[in-house]
Each structure stands twice: as structure tokens, then as C-alpha cells.
């Protein structure tokens, strides 16, 4: 599948040379040869953008992956990893581990995205865990954004840890795969404590934080959610509305009051959905 896309985007002679290298790799495999081919992907001039149509084609095959976050370079690397699937489990896992160990930043990003479609991926969770300790936003984002791997293989605590790290590294948590489904009471509590701290320091905080701060909130935390529904910043209003959409127990009066005065159309539409949904129940 990746091959068909790659063939469209890189010059024919480069595509042929890649295929030749991969054939040689299959015929006489060594981990170091794999690592070399994997490292040299930058030579294909990967700055070309993949069209939306081609991303859709990939999504039709691998529905749970958000290919909007994949570059051509990631796709070529995925094609290379697919070619070593013939290896026995032990060798395969070793190859992925070693290539991650010596990877540069872009290779790390590719590998983290590829984890989700990799063979024996359940054996590779330690790679994803080590990534959460990075301080390079691109690397953490490769694991967070549109990547189902943490959703599938992280414990609640590990998932929470990743989400908080994303908040601190300024990565949009709205892009985390399965965030709403995986949000839990502990994560919500930590998010609310973070908002307490930011408010005390008179500083703003990421607006999409409401996605995890609103669920499981009660008492003064829930009151604050409604307060931000009327906030002067449209981003706060928008994300509060999004977060209430998933809640069972919403006080209609706050929502109805905001619908009347809301001038941001997407936010207004979401608020209307909240009301409609409750009326249909």
C-alpha cells in the first residue's frame, strides 16, 4: 500500500533503487543494512506533500491511523519496515529496537508512527514509554497525534502521564487518539489542579485542556467549566462546548444562555447539538 503512494511521489530511478535495496535486504538480511537503508531515507527529498486523496486511500486500508500527521519520509520508512516482516519475532523486535536506539529525531518520529502498524507491536511498548521522556516536541507529537498506539498499549497511568507531558510541551491534546474515551478521574483531577495553578498565577492555559478537565468534574471545578462557557476567548468557549458534548449530566440553562449570545458559529452549533441530544433522550 505504501509502495503505491511512494512510487507516485519520488522519481522513477530513485524508486527503483529503493526497491533494489529492499530486495537485497530480503535476500541477505543484516540489522545494520536495514538501519542504513532506514537512515538514508532523507536522500529521497521528502519535502513533497502527500495529497489528501492519497491519505484517504491509506485510511481506507488502515482506518485507525491519522495519516495527516505522516510525511512522505514516514511512509517510505513504513514501507521499509514492512519489508522485514519475514524476520522471526526476536530478530524483528531487535531490528526495531536497535534502529530506534540509534535514530536521529526524524527517524524516531517515523518509528513511533510506524509502531501502530508494526508486527509484534505489543513487544515494543518500552520504545513508546521512553519517548514520553523526550523534550523534543516533534518526538512526543509523533506518539500523541493521531497515533492509536498509546490508546491500545498504555496503562491508564502511562496514558495520563503522556497527556500531561503533551500539555507541558504545548502539543494540542485534542489531537491525541482516543483522548475522550481514555480520560479518567485521575487525569481530570490533575488537569483541574493545573488550571487552579494557572489561574492563581493569573496565566492562561491550553483551551483544549477542557477535554480532560470537564469529564468527572464536580463542585467548584464543574462551576468553573460553566464559567468558561461564557469566557471572552472563543477558544475557551469552543473547547468547553466540545467537552460538554460528551457529558451526560449538563445543566441546560448555562448552555441555552450561551446559545443566545454566541457569535462563533461552530461553537453555537455544538451547543445546539448538546441541547438537541438531551431533548431526543
Amino acid at each position: 500500500m505504501f509502495d503505491a503512494i511512494i512510487e507516485k511521489y519520488i522519481p522513477a530511478e530513485k524508486y527503483l533503487s529503493l526497491q533494489k535495496q529492499l530486495q537485497q535486504l530480503e535476500n541477505s538480511y543484516t540489522t545494520n543494512k536495514f538501519i542504513e537503508i532506514f537512515s538514508k531515507v532523507y536522500m529521497f527529498n521528502c519535502d513533497i506533500k502527500i495529497t489528501g486523496e492519497d491519505r484517504e486511500k491509506l485510511k481506507n486500508v488502515m482506518a485507525n491511523i491519522e495519516f495527516d500527521y505522516w510525511s512522505l519520509e514516514d511512509m517510505i520508512r513504513a514501507a521499509i519496515v514492512k519489508r522485514i516482516q519475514f524476520l522471526p519475532e526476536k530478530d524483528y523486535v531487535e531490528a526495531i529496537e536497535k534502529s530506534y536506539r540509534i535514530a536521529d529525531t526524524k527517524e524516531q518520529c517515523s518509528l513511533l508512527k510506524i509502531l501502530a502498524i508494526s508486527q509484534y507491536r505489543e513487544k515494543l511498548a518500552h520504545i513508546a514509554h521512553s519517548c514520553v521522556r523526550t523534550n523534543i516536541p516533534d518526538v512526543l507529537a509523533a506518539l500523541c497525534c493521531g497515533n492509536p498506539y498509546p490508546y491500545d498499549y498504555f496503562s491508564t497511568q502511562e496514558f495520563n502521564n503522556m497527556v500531561l507531558k503533551a500539555v507541558f510541551m504545548n502539543i494540542s491534546i485534542a489531537k491525541i487518539y482516543g483522548l475522550v474515551q481514555k480520560t479518567n478521574e485521575a487525569l481530570s483531577r490533575m488537569a483541574n489542579q493545573y488550571i487552579d495553578e494557572r489561574e492563581a498565577a493569573n496565566r492562561d492555559f491550553p483551551c483544549d485542556l477542557w477535554l480532560i478537565a470537564c469529564p468527572f468534574s464536580h463542585g467548584k471545578d464543574r462551576e468553573r467549566v460553566y464559567r468558561y462557557l461564557h469566557h471572552k476567548s472563543v477558544l475557551h468557549r469552543y473547547w468547553v462546548a466540545c467537552s460538554l458534548l460528551h457529558e451526560e449530566d449538563v445543566q441546560d440553562s448555562f448552555v441555552e444562555k450561551q446559545i443566545e449570545i454566541e457569535d462563533h458559529i461552530p461553537t453555537k452549533e455544538i451547543l445546539q447539538q448538546i441541547i438537541d441530544r438531551r431533548r431526543n433522550k
Binding site: D104, K106, A141, C145, N170, K175
Partner: protein, 293 residues
Amino acid sequence: MKFFDPHIHMTARTTDDYQRMVEMGIRAVCEPAFWLGQPRTHAGTYEDYLKTIIGWERFRASQFGIHHFCTIALNPREANSHIAPEVMELLPLYIHKESVLGIGEIGLDDMTSVEEKYFLAQLQLAKEHNLPVIIHTPHRNKKEGTQRSIDIVKEVGINQKQVVIDHNMEETLPLVLEQTDCWAGHTIYPQTKMSKDRMVKLVQQYGVERILVNSSADWGMSDPLNIPKTAGLMKEANFSDADIEKLFWKNPIAFYASSGKISEEMIAEPIKIDQTQFWEDNSILRGQSPVVE
């Protein structure tokens, strides 16, 4: 004026340094692998250092808009260490990285036989992969060390246009220019060794062809602004802008371009400091007052 410092140890510098370097026009740097002031006791820590210069330091530089590259090697001092054989095995894994422009710094320091052994082996590695090489010359016994380095380069038969013999002084520069086709590198220090004024005198005498100048700027007394400062002195000494640009911009690019990994076009513009990091069409960062140039 744009500058490329072809030999600078940024892991030893602070963010203030990066800030001042950008302000003075430094667009690109190359960080050769070297020792950290004390011998490492494990090959693993050496490997982590290599990972630092291909990853973390490159990221740090990019936050200031600076293009960061590196060269990797077993350095001459640690060639004498028990970790040397293991480090040598790591090198072929790292030379294919996008930001690794060559092998360096290698060469002689105490001029031991084991230093020579690894010097030769790494020249062979560079030759095999058609990569540029930075050769460190010893600070003690400099003339003899430089001559021995030249002899070894000739013995290996590597393309001399891909080799820089570094840390030259008045007495070694003619050896390099007359006996080889190698580049001659010079490291400007604030107090000891080669100074900015002496460097200007050298280019007055020898011209700017095949000459490279760097600041090294490691953990010792050093100045990461020595390239733009030396350029300023050249301007005062009535060098043309074309000569200054050649020495501090075109020459390092020409030297490293033989790796096939960089071109002037690639580095002429600073890296966009765009904290929204648009990735394809999707920003990974949320849209809250980010610093966008």
C-alpha cells in the same frame, strides 16, 4: 553577512551564546565529536554523546534558527582508552544520518601508536563512504604532529579535497598548502594559540583559497563569536566582502558539500522558528499566541 562555523562544540555553550551567534549572523554550525574534558569510562556514554550531537543539540540550535550539523569520530585522546574498539564499531551505524556531514575530529594528540591505528582506520572509513574528514593536530609538538598527519593522509590515498587539517599556526599552514590539496583549518582562541589578528595576517599572506576558520568554542576559554569578530577585523583591514564571504561562508559549504548532504541553498535561510510546527497541513501545537517569525 552570513557565517558558517565549521568546527564548534555547541554542547558546551548556553542558550545566550546561541542568541548572540544568531544576532551576529551565524546561520550554520558543524559540531565535530570530541572529548569532554575527561575520558569517558564507558562506550555507552560515548554513544549517548553521539546521539546528543545528532539529536538534542540539533534541536536546541533549531530553536534559534541555526542549522546544526556534526561529524562523528573516535577522538584522538580517547583513542588511547579501553573503550576505543567498541566506539569504532558504533561509527558505521551513525555515518548515514542526515546531519552527519563527515568523520571528525580524528588524528594525533599524544602521537601514540594506538592513536595512529585509529586515525588510519577512520580515514579508511571516510574514504570508503566518500565523506569529508576533520583532522585535529596536536597542540604540543604541533609541527611534527602536522607533518605526520600529512604523511598519513597521503599514505591512505584519500581525496585530499575532502580533508581539513585543523588548528594550524604560522609554522604549519605552509606545510599543508604546499604539500597537499587539503583544506587548512584555523581555530581562533581568545587568549592562547591562534588569535584573530594573527589570522588576518595569515590571510593577507596566503589568501582565502582552501582556508577554513573556526572558533572551536568548547568547554575551555573560548568565544563562539570569533568568526564574525575575525570577519570584522578583515573588513577593517580592507578585505573585500567577496573574500570575507568566501572565507566564512562559501569555503565551509564547499568543504562539507562533498558529503552530498548540504548545499548553500539549503542553509542560506535561517530555520523558521515556528513553534506551531506545521506538519503537513496540521499543526501539532495549539493555537495560542505562539512565537512565529
